[in-house]
């Protein structure tokens, strides 16, 4: 407001000065020169803006007409040519005034922009220094207030991740009062706040993951150490007992030593399962290769020679079944499923192992003719430390949990189903990861 008054005062003053100068030099100069003096005055006044320019033009026209255009000291005009001078004075006043005004607007806008940019920069710095999401929100409120001059509230999305397209929203009471520039600024702050919050979230997640990994590593080191310390005495017990068994004089003693060896074997299998469960639960990816399943069935059956005594095993695999699996883990899975079947079914009942393929992967089944699944949800049998109603069968309830862990690690499924005609079927599906290999070219190359 004050600036405007000053601009008008300058307009009046310059026109007055031009008039005085014109009167003083009147005897020596022409009317055109006096008009030039007024143009100078208008030019000078118009620097104060469009309105001041127009005021100066109006005053100049009036003064010029009154003091210098014949008939002098009246506002009457005898020569029409003077009207052109008046028009030029007006146009120049208006044009220069509006040019100056536009320049000034642009200058103002760029100053605004600069302020917003540096505010955004300052905000980014503050947000980057924040140690939690609350710190980021506080920085948002401060910097939005600095630029917009209004208080704001910050809304956070439930999942703040860098992939979320708008994790942070800023609400301002009178949003419509914002200029486009301010609006842009608020948007930019929201976006930067989203990035900062996402980064913080990631950092927190990474820290948690590192802690978990450390705990996992500790657990697995501990278990390996424990299992090594258990394995060595077990190996000695097995070895010594077999030595004694070989030289035992009577059947009774041999039976006793057989039992020791058998039980040591069982302990050793439990240990193996304990280690296997830490391995699959550590989340390490299985080392998958294309393996004919029958090879693993054979290895598992050989390992289970003793527990399987009294159970005829039928393997139904009319052709070679390829599965994309970690052979060591899946041999363990088969061992557990077959051992589980042997443990929970009466001696003399057959165990059937089947393998087949469909378009998506390999299917393995272990079927028995035992009492069937325990009452309750069928999946409970895969829970860690779950033990069937026939707890007399022994075991700690790890075997099937290991099976599930191994199936899941392969992105596969495992199910316990009632078998038609009595008994239970355990079915594992291993989805393919890529197409099974073709072998023709290999045969040729070896020649």
């Amino acid at each position: 407001m004050r600036g405007k008054v000053r601009a008008y005062a300058i307009a009046v003053g310059t026109v007055a000065a031009a008039t005085l100068a014109g009167i003083a030099a009147d005897a020596h100069v022409s009317q055109a020169d006096e008009a030039m003096l007024y143009l100078l005055a208008i030019l000078f006044a118009a620097l104060g803006g469009r309105a001041a320019g127009l005021v100066a033009a109006a005053l100049s026209v009036a003064s010029f007409d009154f003091f210098f255009v014949a008939p002098r000291y009246t506002f009457a005009v005898s020569d029409l040519r003077s009207l052109i001078t008046f028009a030029v004075m007006f146009v120049i006043g208006a044009a220069i005034g509006s040019l100056v005004a536009r320049l000034r607007d642009a200058e103002e806008a760029s100053r605004d922009r600069e302020r917003r940019t540096s505010a955004l920069l300052a905000f980014t710095r503050d947000a980057a220094a924040a140690v939690d999401v609350e710190g980021v929100c506080a920085a948002v409120v401060t910097h939005v207030h600095d630029v917009v001059g209004a208080s704001s509230t910050v809304q956070l999305a439930d999942d703040i991740t860098p992939l979320h397209n708008a994790p942070v929203r800023i609400r301002i009471a009178d949003e419509r009062a914002l200029t486009p520039g301010q609006h842009q600024f608020v948007e930019a702050v929201a976006q930067q706040a989203g990035v900062a919050a996402g980064r913080l979230q990631l950092a927190i997640a990474a820290r948690d993951a590192a802690l978990r990994a450390k705990a996992e590593e500790l657990r697995s080191t501990l278990l390996s150490a424990v299992s090594h310390d258990l394995r060595t005495p077990l190996a000695v017990i097995t070895g010594m007992a077999t030595s004694l068994r070989d030289s035992a004089e009577n059947a009774e003693r041999r039976d006793a030593l057989d039992t020791i060896v058998g039980e040591a074997d069982r302990l050793s299998r439990i240990l193996t399962n304990l280690l296997a469960i830490t391995k699959v639960e550590s989340g390490a990816a299985p080392r998958r290769e294309w393996v004919p399943v029958e090879e693993l069935v054979g290895a598992a059956l050989r390992r289970l020679d003793e527990p399987l005594a009294g159970h005829p095993v039928v393997v139904d695999m009319p052709e070679t079944v390829l599965a994309h699996i970690d052979p060591i883990l899946v041999e363990q899975l088969l061992t557990n499923l077959i051992e589980n079947a042997a443990k929970h079914t009466p001696a003399g009942t057959a165990i059937e192992v089947r393998g087949s393929r469909d378009a998506n992967g390999a299917i393995l089944e272990v079927a028995d003719r035992g009492p069937g699944l325990p009452p309750g949800p069928p999946r409970q049998v895969f829970d860690k430390f779950f033990r069937g109603a026939h707890a007399a069968a022994g075991g700690v309830g790890l075997g099937l949990a290991v099976c599930r862990g191994i199936a899941v690690a392969h992105h596969g499924t495992i199910d316990a189903l009632p078998r038609e005609g009595g008994g239970a079927v355990f079915r594992v599906v291993f989805p393919d990861d890529g197409a099974p290999p073709k072998l023709d070219d290999m045969e040729l190359r070896a020649g």
Binding site: S243, E295, G298, R302, T320, L322, P437, A446
Partner: protein
């Protein structure tokens, strides 16, 4: 002449078991609980076979394996736990002859040592045209294979596989060793080809391919053609 077996094992009770089992079956035994002592005894006693535990207090058993291999062909049998398959494969590819997975009994121990000693003596020489393992007869002069006097028709690859396994009957051969022998040095990573051809071979040789009597799988390690 009695054979000397060097037992390298840091756990004293385990060492006692190994030594007593070996001496009671007619072997002479030298025992070491550390890598350093094992190095000394290996050069001093010139053992006919070495039983080597890989995890020793003063270093990795692999170093002993490698240094002994530089001057001796005496069979080396590695003792290792289950779920250490990678270690076994590394040891076998580095020149170990076989391995025993703890826990094991005396019969397994003695069988492994006897097979290893027999191979070391070269009782099965590669240029003998007739290879016989159990019911399997391979006539290398005529590329003919019979099982229980029944002629078996093998593809060239199956034949090569069977010959390799029969030459080393009783010994484990790693995937890498078999791939190298049959397919050549550039194919040692293509384990799945080997597995599929082994499956086919087994279906031709075995009565029940899923419960093999002769061609057994050593999970995560390789294959073995049993010879008893």
């Amino acid at each position: 002449m009695t054979d000397t077996v060097l037992v390298v094992e840091d756990e004293a009770p385990m060492r006692r078991f190994l030594c007593s089992a070996l001496t009671s079956h007619g072997f002479r035994v030298a025992e070491a609980g550390t890598l350093a002592r094992a190095h000394e005894l290996a050069t001093e006693t010139r053992p006919n076979a070495i039983l080597l535990d890989l995890g020793l207090p003063d270093g990795d058993g692999l170093t002993l394996l490698k240094s002994v291999r530089e001057w001796s062909t005496a069979p080396i049998i590695v003792l290792s736990a289950r779920d250490r398959e990678d270690d076994k494969v590394i040891a076998l590819d580095a020149g170990a002859d076989d391995y025993l997975t703890k826990p094991f009994g005396t019969s397994e121990l003695l069988a492994r040592i006897r097979v290893a000693l027999r191979h070391a003596r070269g009782l099965r020489v590669a240029d003998d045209p007739l290879l016989v393992v159990g019911p399997i007869r391979i006539d290398q002069a005529r590329y003919a294979v019979t099982v229980d006097d029944r002629a078996v028709h093998l593809t060239p690859i199956e034949y090569k596989l069977l010959v390799q396994l029969a030459r080393h009957a009783g010994k484990v051969l790693t995937h890498r060793q078999l791939l190298h022998e049959v397919w050549g040095p550039r194919s040692t990573e293509q384990t799945h080809y080997l597995r599929v051809h082994m499956a086919a071979l087994r279906r031709k040789i075995e009565v029940d391919a899923a419960r093999p009597r002769w061609l057994t799988t050593e999970a995560g390690v390789g294959y073995r053609l049993l010879d008893e």
